[in-house]
Amino acid sequence: MPEQRNGGRDGTASRRGFLAAAATGVTGALAGCAGISGGQEQGNQAGVSGETLTLTTTTSTYDTGLLDEIHPDFEDMYGVTVDAVAQGTGAALESARNGDSDVVMVHARGLEDEFMRNGYGVNRRDLMFNDFVIVGPESDPAGIQGMDSATEALTAIAEAEATFVSRGDNSGTHTKELNLWEAAGTEPGGDWYQETGTGMGEALNVANQQDAYTLSDRGTFISQRSEIDLVILVQGPIGDGPEILANPYGIMAVNPGVHDNANYDLSMAYIGWITSPGTQDAISNYQVNGEQLFFPEAVSEDPNFQQYVPEGWSSNSTDG
C-alpha cells in the first residue's frame, strides 16, 4: 500500500451544511456546486486543482492494486482526487452512460464500440493489455492441460460436464467467456455451469472451493495465486497461447456534449497522463508476486487510428 499522504479531506462541515440546505429544499441555488464533492477548498489556482475525477473501472484493474499504485502520481501532479469505483465493465459503462462518472477504463471492445457509437464516449485510447487464462484444479478432470485452443478446451469441459464457474455479471471477462462459448459452438448450461454474479476475485474463490474451471484475467489470477490451489491449464497470448484470449484495456472520456456535468478537462488530463510514457512505464513495472500484470499499449511508433473509433469504422461507412 502507498504511504499516507495528508489528503486534507475535511469538507464534511460544508457538506453537512450542503445536505441540510438540500433537505430544506434550497436545491436550485446549489445546482452548480459540483466542485464541492472534492472536499477541498477551491483556491484561486487556475485549472483543475481541488476537483474530483470519478473513474468507473473493472474489478481487475482495482483488485490487482494497479490503480492504488499509480494514482498518487496523478493526484499530486494536478492536486486532484481520483474516485475509482470498481464495478465490472458493463456496470462501469452504464454509470458513465448515466453521467455518473467522468472517465471509464474497461476491457470489452465490443461494448466500448457500442458506447462510442451511441455518443457517450469520446477520445478512446488503447491503454494496456494482459490476457485471459483458463484455470482449473490440478486434477484436470476434463483433460484440457496445455491445449492451444481455448474453444476446444471449453468444449472438452462441457462434454465432461466438469464444473465451470462463470462471472455472470456482464463484465469484460464474462463478455469474453460468452464469446468463447459462441465460438466453440456450445451452449453452456446444466448443473455444471455456475454463474456467480461476482467480481473476478470472488469467482476464483468459488472455483477454488469447488475444484472448478473458470476463465480469469491473468492479472487477478496472479494477485490471488497465493490464496488458491487452481493452476493455469490453457495459456493466453502472453504465455504463447491463442490470440483469442488477448485482453486489451481501453480508456474513454465521457462525452461532455451528452453530460455537461462530466469533468471533461480533468478526464482528458487523466487520459493524457495514463497514456504518457512515464505512466506507461509505471504500469509495466507494476508487479505482484514478482510477475508483471499489465503490458502498456498506449505508446507506439506506429499510429493505430482504430483505437480512437469503433473497430472497422471508416469515414465513408454509415456509422455516425
Partner: protein
C-alpha cells in the same frame, strides 16, 4: 476511536496489506454515515410516532401499513431507488450526490426510519394514560405532555434507535450501490464502510482481513448498544 481493539488483534493484521490509517478511516466512514442517518431518522421518527400515537387523522391506517411494510423492505431495493434519485439522470442529479457519503446517509435514513418509528410508536402508546392526564392537569402544554411521555418511554425509544442503528450499520447492498466503495489511492476511505470493506476483502480472498474487520464491526455495534442502553435506563424509571 477503538483502534486499540484492532491493535490487539494484531497477529492476524500484521502481515496484511492495509494499515491503521485505512482501518480507522473505514471505521470513521461507517460511524459517520450510520450515526448521522440514525440521528436524522430519530428526529423524523419520534414526532411521527407521537402524532400517530395520540391523534387521529384520515389515512392513519395507511401510514401504519407503510411503516410496517418499510420494516421488511429489502435494503438493496432501497439502494436502487436512492441510486435512481441521485444519479445524474434522476430528480436530484444536479446535486451530484452519487458515490458520496450523503447518498449513503439517504439510503440508511430510509432503512432506519420504519423500525425506529414502529418501535417508538409501541413504546409511546404503552405509556399509561394516567401519566398523560397528570401532565395535563398540572397545566402542561401539548409539548410538555409529549416530553413527559417521551421521558417515560425512553427505554423503548432507545431500543427503537438501536434497531435502526443496527439495520443501518450492518447494511451492505445499498451503500455499495450508492456509495461505490471508494477509497482514495492513499488508503483513506471516502465511501468505504466496514461492511463494504468486508465484502471487498472476501471478494479478493483475504479472509483473515475480512474476519478482523468483521470483529471490529461487531465490537462497534456492541459498544453503541451498551452506550444507548445505558442512556435509556439510567434511572429506575425505565420500563
Amino acid at each position: 476511536m477503538p483502534l486499540d481493539a484492532v491493535a490487539q488483534l494484531a497477529p492476524a493484521v500484521a502481515g496484511l496489506p492495509f494499515e491503521q490509517g485505512y482501518v480507522s478511516s473505514v471505521i470513521y466512514v461507517s460511524l459517520y454515515v450510520s450515526l448521522i442517518a440514525v440521528t436524522l431518522s430519530t428526529l423524523f421518527s419520534i414526532p411521527v410516532a407521537l402524532v400517530m400515537g395520540f391523534t387521529d387523522f384520515p389515512g392513519k391506517q395507511f401510514v401504519k401499513s407503510v411503516i410496517n411494510t418499510g420494516m421488511g423492505f429489502p435494503s438493496v431495493v432501497v439502494g436502487l431507488l436512492v441510486l435512481f434519485a441521485v444519479s445524474n439522470q434522476g430528480p436530484l442529479g444536479a446535486l451530484d450526490l452519487i458515490f458520496t457519503k450523503e447518498a449513503m446517509i439517504m439510503s440508511q435514513f430510509v432503512l432506519a426510519t420504519p423500525p425506529i418509528t414502529a418501535i417508538s410508536l409501541a413504546a409511546l402508546t404503552g405509556v399509561s394514560g394516567n401519566v398523560r392526564d397528570a401532565a395535563h392537569v398540572l397545566g402542561g402544554t401539548r409539548i410538555d405532555v409529549a416530553l413527559v411521555v417521551i421521558k417515560e418511554a425512553r427505554y423503548g425509544i432507545a431500543t427503537a434507535i438501536l434497531a435502526g442503528f443496527g439495520r443501518a450499520i450492518s447494511e451492505v447492498g445499498s451503500v455499495l450501490i450508492v456509495g461505490g466503495n471508494i477509497t482514495s489511492a492513499d488508503g483513506v476511505s471516502k465511501t468505504r464502510t466496514l461492511t463494504t470493506a468486508i465484502q471487498l476483502e472476501a471478494r479478493q480472498g483475504r479472509y483473515e482481513t475480512a474476519m478482523v474487520l468483521g470483529a471490529v464491526l461487531v465490537a462497534l455495534v456492541l459498544l453503541i448498544n451498551a452506550i444507548v442502553v445505558r442512556l435509556g435506563s439510567d434511572e429506575v424509571g425505565g420500563r
